[in-house]
């Protein structure tokens, strides 16, 4: 594990000491090398986890998330080059430092053994993200967005600290490897209900659950491109990962307590997908689609069947790559038109046909086209929820249809039709942007050839 942590930490001195014309090149290349190192962790043992030390371990659930995190840093750096080109050198280096700190904390979070260390790093990831959103966002609403983001997550996760300390006192350990064998069933008393709520609310806010999702559209829309990418791709999955880890301690209370959150997620899926159909802002549409996809993951984790866990893991990885790619595409629009309004930049297919190809592939992945892992994740979750209760198929089916509707609406509005008069003289697609889209799409397509990598520990 040190062979990933130390290089990532060393990216920061390297950025500060690089020559001005080399900062982007150095940081991108070296972060790409780090991601290639982390690919070795995908070679997982069948029944057990890879334990690197007392502090770090990786498991078929956390290894794909770790690889996604490390893969995303070079992509974030590539995406940020354009909007930071007018900043001073120190600010550019500071931005790269923020991204690298965030990366370091995320790597340690996904591989933490002790749940308290997981919690501390979970909270610590908020700080670089807050700095990125409030300092480098584009509109004045970014201050409000940062506030919502910080305080929603803090309010949700403070009870988690209390719950973890309580579990440490009663069980004697919070080391995840021990506690999965040591967990005793807890009865459904009032205090255990509060324990369940305290453990889960942090992750519900992070996912986000439908009633507590207000921070997400604000934060995603106001963040700069790297902030949006890391928020959508990785920070939401922290919630899913945490939920999958902590539900081991909470049986069988989950059978009773899951109902309100299942209802919120199932109905919230349909509601947020419908809201997507009426958005004027492109990034807001992608943000609400993130809420909808994550609601599926919440449903899957609360059902707790083998198939649903496999579906949840696959869906998390798939959504990470797809959502990040859609944000990059939206950013390529924004850099040219300087507005996020969808109707202002229409008919791009005639002017930027290669970018239209990436838009098409990203949209097809978003609406869970077979054989992508998006479909595998969604299908497993739909099947598992059908076995939980036959009636869920109504809501799930409605959600799939509305997802297809708004994704195609987004594709057709931005790509098809007559182009607006002012986009005749936009810049053509840069090689950097095409490389960015390719690097997003290539893992997604390759994983559809070998999905068992992302199907999690149950496979």
């Amino acid at each position: 594990m040190l062979k990933i942590i130390i290089p990532t930490a060393m990216l920061m001195p390297m950025t500060w000491l690089s020559k001005p014309n080399m900062i982007w090149i150095n940081s991108t290349i070296y972060s790409l090398l780090i991601s290639l190192i982390s690919l070795s962790y995908l070679n997982q043992l069948g029944d057990n986890s890879l334990n690197f030390s007392l502090l770090f371990f990786s498991d078929p659930l956390s290894a794909p998330l770790l690889v996604l995190t490390t893969w995303l840093l070079p992509l974030m750096l590539m995406a940020s080059q354009s909007h930071l080109s007018k900043e001073t050198l120190t600010r550019k280096k500071l931005y790269i430092t923020m991204l690298t700190t965030l990366q370091l904390l995320l790597i340690m979070t996904f591989t933490a053994t002790e749940l308290i260390m997981f919690y501390i790093l979970f909270e610590a990831t908020l700080i670089p993200t807050l700095i990125i959103i409030t300092r480098w966002g584009n509109q004045t609403e970014r201050l409000n967005a940062g506030l919502y983001f910080l305080f929603y997550t803090l309010m949700g996760s403070l009870p988690l600290l209390v719950a973890l300390l309580y579990i440490q006192n009663t069980t004697g350990t919070l080391n995840f490897l021990i506690i999965q064998y040591w967990a005793k069933p807890i009865s459904t008393t009032w205090s255990n209900i509060f324990l369940w709520l305290a453990c889960m609310m942090a992750f519900m806010v992070k996912m986000p659950l439908y009633g507590l999702h207000l921070w997400l559209p604000k934060a995603h829309v106001e963040a700069p491109i790297a902030g949006s990418m890391v928020l959508a791709a990785v920070l939401l999955k922290l919630g899913g990962y945490g939920m999958m880890r902590i539900t081991i301690l909470l049986n069988p209370t989950t059978n009773q307590m899951a109902y309100p959150f299942m209802m919120l997620s199932l109905w919230g899926m349909v509601m947020t997908s419908s809201v997507c159909l009426r958005q004027t802002d492109l990034k807001s549409l992608i943000a609400y689609s993130s809420v909808s996809h994550m609601a599926l993951v919440i449903v899957a984790v609360l059902i707790q069947t083998p198939w649903s866990y496999m579906g949840a893991t696959a869906l998390m990885i798939a959504h990470g790559l797809t959502s990040s790619m859609l944000f990059c595409l939206a950013n390529s629009n924004y850099e040219r038109v300087h507005s996020r309004t969808m109707i202002l930049a229409r008919g791009l297919q005639t002017i930027l046909p290669l970018m239209a190809a990436w838009w098409l592939l990203a949209s097809l992945a978003n609406l869970a086209l077979p054989p992508t892992i998006n479909l595998i994740g969604e299908l497993f979750v739909v099947m598992a929820s059908f076995s939980w209760s036959n009636m869920t198929i109504i809501l799930m089916g409605t959600n799939i249809i509305i997802t297809a509707l708004y994704t195609l609406y987004m594709l057709i509005t931005t790509q098809r039709g007559k182009h607006t008069h002012h986009i005749k003289n936009i810049n053509p697609s840069f090689t950097r942007e095409n490389a960015l889209m390719t690097l997003h799409l290539l893992p997604l397509l390759l994983l559809s050839l070998n999905p068992k990598t992302v199907l999690g520990p149950i496979y």
Binding site: D281, R336, T341, T392
Partner: protein, 159 residues
Amino acid sequence: MSFPKYQPSRLATLPSTLDPAEYDVSPEARKAQAERLAIRSRLKREYLLQYNDPSRRGLIEDPALIRWTYARSANIYPNFRPTPKTSLLGALFGIGPLFFWYYVFKTDRNRKIFKLERITTSTQYRRIFYVIPGITSWVCLHASCEWKLSTQQSSLPYY
């Protein structure tokens, strides 16, 4: 020649030149019309200047569009007031379905769990769990043995 009197319809409104009220307009109304025309032509001139400017890069800012997107995305709460209609819509689509689906799913789940527990805990039906698998595995074992023997016998040499 006398033409029939022009009747306006829904898709073909009366043009202002055929409207007799147009010719009796007071001087103040005429002045107001002239002012509005001046504003419209100034805006159109500004737009056309920007539209035909060869060194323009990017879109022409439309303040109306900016206001519209701001109102739709960031300025919703100051323009919201709880009225009977909005409260009804909120309850119908936001709160009601949660309780509705809770009752639907709880009923369905209770029925499912009851059926499952009845089968797994009753002694009468429990035999399903070991008789049927036992019979099927016995049949499969025999069938596989016979198939194996039949394929083997053809390769044994005749003594």
